[in-house]
């Protein structure tokens, strides 16, 4: 009888362990999918960042800045005559 109880107890333990394995496995898959999504997201953001760097660099090229300053904003380099020396 005693031996039978031990067998029963161990069987129960094995059963629990099996269930636990299934749960862990599932959790690991779920986490992995999340990791994949985050990595994908990170990559997308990095690419977006690169595109923004390019966009910023393109908008701020000096020929363009100079053009806008001169044409649209009517700016000129300060003339030497207009410079005051403060002291």
């Amino acid at each position: 009888v005693k031996g039978g109880l031990i067998v029963l107890f161990l069987t129960a333990l094995i059963f629990c362990s099996a269930i636990e394995l299934i749960l862990t496995r599932h959790k690991s898959r779920a986490l992995f999918v999340e990791l994949q999504n985050l990595q994908q997201h990170q990559y997308t953001l990095q690419q977006k960042h690169r595109q923004l760097i390019l966009e910023q660099a393109t908008w701020s090229t000096y020929p363009r800045v100079e053009n806008v300053a001169r044409q649209s904003l009517d700016m000129v380099p300060q003339r030497y005559e207009d410079i005051f020396t403060l002291r």
Partner: protein, 580 residues
């Protein structure tokens, strides 16, 4: 019981047969099991794995090239290439017109491309699509046409920095400039991983990393994009105005040896290289040699001062403006008579320079030229540097001994000349040049005495204040500089009507921060003197550069236009319009 025994023994042969058949079946099956398990295991497992195992590519982009202030000069953006399976694509010919339109290609071209390669399974239709094009191709959803991810390199400052930055080919390999020189650290290698995918193609498990991903390292150049543009604009204007064949300009930071600007004309747009002339690719400041002419004279004077046979007040008699050496003669444009060392530079006297050179040991003169780096490699990290030549003094004939002194008979490139002027500017140090932004200045070695360079700076300031270099003046600043006008050396000797116009300058002369060298190759609109063609380029580019780099004017009060005003407390915080 008896009956039963009788029955079983009734048909022994039949029974044996049945047993044998069963045994045969069983052993056939058994043998097949063994066969599958032992002999065909690898094959079968491999095929099984093919149903779910995949190799995934982990994207990685080529490093960004930045200027010293963090402006991007070259950057890779994801893009796509479109490819086709010609046989499949033949089936829906009626939609080719849409496809041609989407990828911006003439229909005839597309037809030729596809029908001409019917026996292949893979044809690139167009590589490196714009994001808009790839979106349209994806929307077409045409069978036989697929998109393949790759990346495309963009150069926002286009032809302003093209010779320095260079470019890559469609396979992302550096071809020119920094892209080539630093290809290894810039280049990226996509990672490879073995993964398990489910029925829908989603990755459900990663098994192993087959190849580690290598990220492209970013690189920060010493170039200042703003100064670069100032130099580019000034040079381009001059090359255009004088209908010159070509031109180069380089600007150095005197203290660190960093190259702040390096421009050449003609240039090219790295974003669109169709119809590009190969000669426009040349980074002339590095790959082309020239004779420095009069811009070498300051180094002859440096040798004179270092020799201690001369000082600032030494007088050299240049009359009658002609010096006969054997069968050759050295001439000045007029008879300058007695000149001190300063005036030899101010008037740019060939006879004066020659007489000084001939009074010095050839070895001594050679040593000074050699030590300031004329005709020796700068070892700057740009592809294709041509070293040039300073002939060894033991091979000098008398006439060569003389002509070296005013810059004929030796050859060098623009950055070498700039480095040599930096020696005068920084107190006598030969500073290693750098195209990368530096945290600490590179190696340097002392080659001239501090007193020598100080005296030279004073003399060269006179050249710009009252000599041949007047057009190199920058308002508010003292400039030290030297002009040069060189007859071009062609295969048939020196050409009488083809010139190089040169100017090398240092600003501010009292506390040098920048050195620049300008070369204009074959100005063809009449003017060709270095002081009239090259010096204005220096003045134009440097007046922008000193403002952009916040370099303090060292001559603010010597000009009548500058008003000296006392600060009135009440101005502080008022709009600029309220100033008197």
């Amino acid at each position: 019981m008896n009956e039963g025994t009788k029955v079983t023994s009734l048909f022994p042969a039949r029974r044996l047969l049945v047993v044998m058949v069963f045994l045969l079946c069983a052993s056939t099956l058994g043998w097949r099991v063994v066969d599958l398990q032992l002999n065909e295991k690898d094959f079968l497992q491999g095929h099984g794995a093919d149903r779910y195992l995949r190799i995934n590519q982990i994207q990685s982009d080529r490093g960004i090239v930045f200027d010293r202030n963090g402006e991007a000069l070259a950057i890779s953006i994801p893009s796509a290439s479109v490819w086709a399976e010609p046989k499949v694509l033949m089936k829906n010919r009626e939609r080719w017109i849409e496809l041609a339109d989407a990828i911006n290609m003439p229909l005839g071209h597309l037809e030729a491309l596809v029908t001409g390669r019917l026996n292949r399974n893979f044809v690139y239709l167009r590589r490196q699509l714009t994001p808009e094009q790839s979106r349209r191709v994806a929307e077409l959803d045409l069978s036989g046409v697929s998109l393949q991810e790759d990346s495309r390199r963009y150069y926002p400052s286009a032809e302003v920095t093209s010779h320095v930055v260079g470019f890559t080919n469609v396979d992302d390999q550096g071809q020119e400039g920094v892209e080539l020189e630093f290809d290894e650290s810039l280049s990226a290698v996509p990672g490879l991983r073995r993964v398990i995918k489910d029925r829908l193609g989603r990755v459900i498990e990663e098994l192993e990393e087959l190849r580690e991903r290598k990220k492209g390292e970013p690189i920060h150049l010493s170039i200042d994009d703003r100064v670069q543009y100032a130099a580019y604009r000034a040079l381009k204007t001059a090359v255009h105005r004088h209908a010159a064949r070509a031109g180069s300009m380089v600007i150095l930071d005197v203290r660190t040896g960093e190259i702040l600007a390096l421009v050449n004309q003609p240039s090219f747009n790295p974003n669109n290289r169709s119809g590009l002339k190969p000669e426009n690719l040349r980074n002339r400041a590095v790959t082309d040699l020239f004779e420095p002419g009069s811009t070498a004279k300051p180094f002859t004077i440096a040798a004179a001062l270092e020799s201690s046979h001369y000082d600032k007040e030494s007088i050299v008699d240049t009359a009658p403006g002609l010096l006969e050496i054997g069968q050759h003669s050295v001439t000045d444009i007029e008879n300058f008579g007695n000149l001190n060392l300063t005036n030899i530079l101010v008037k740019s006297s060939n006879v004066g320079a020659s007489k000084i050179a001939l009074s010095l040991e050839p070895r001594f003169l050679w040593n000074v030229f050699q030590s300031v780096g004329l005709g020796t490699s700068t070892e700057v990290a740009l592809p294709g540097e041509i070293i040039g030549r300073l002939k060894h003094y033991s091979h000098w004939r008398d006439i060569e001994h003389a002509t070296q002194s005013f810059g004929y008979g030796l050859s060098l490139n623009v950055i070498q000349l700039a480095r040599a002027y930096a020696v005068i500017a920084n107190g006598g140090w030969l500073q290693k040049l750098s195209i990368k932004k530096l945290e600490t200045p590179g190696h340097r070695e002392r080659v001239l005495k501090r007193e020598t360079t100080e005296e030279l700076l004073g003399m060269l300031t006179r050249v710009v204040d009252s000599g041949t270099g007047k057009k190199g003046q920058v308002r508010g600043y003292s400039v030290a500089g030297k002009t040069g006008t060189v007859h071009k050396n062609t295969t048939s000797g020196y050409a009488s009507n083809r010139y190089l116009s040169l100017f090398a300058g240092i600003i501010p002369a009292t506390d040098p921060e920048l050195v620049a060298v300008v070369v204009v190759d074959e100005p063809r609109k009449g003017e060709y003197f270095g002081g009239r063609v090259a010096a204005p380029v220096f003045a134009s580019a440097m007046s922008d550069a000193v403002r952009l780099l916040d370099i303090r004017p060292d001559r603010p009060f010597e000009d009548s236009y500058t008003k000296v005003v006392a600060i009135d407390e009440s101005w502080i915080g008022t709009p600029s319009g309220a100033y008197p």
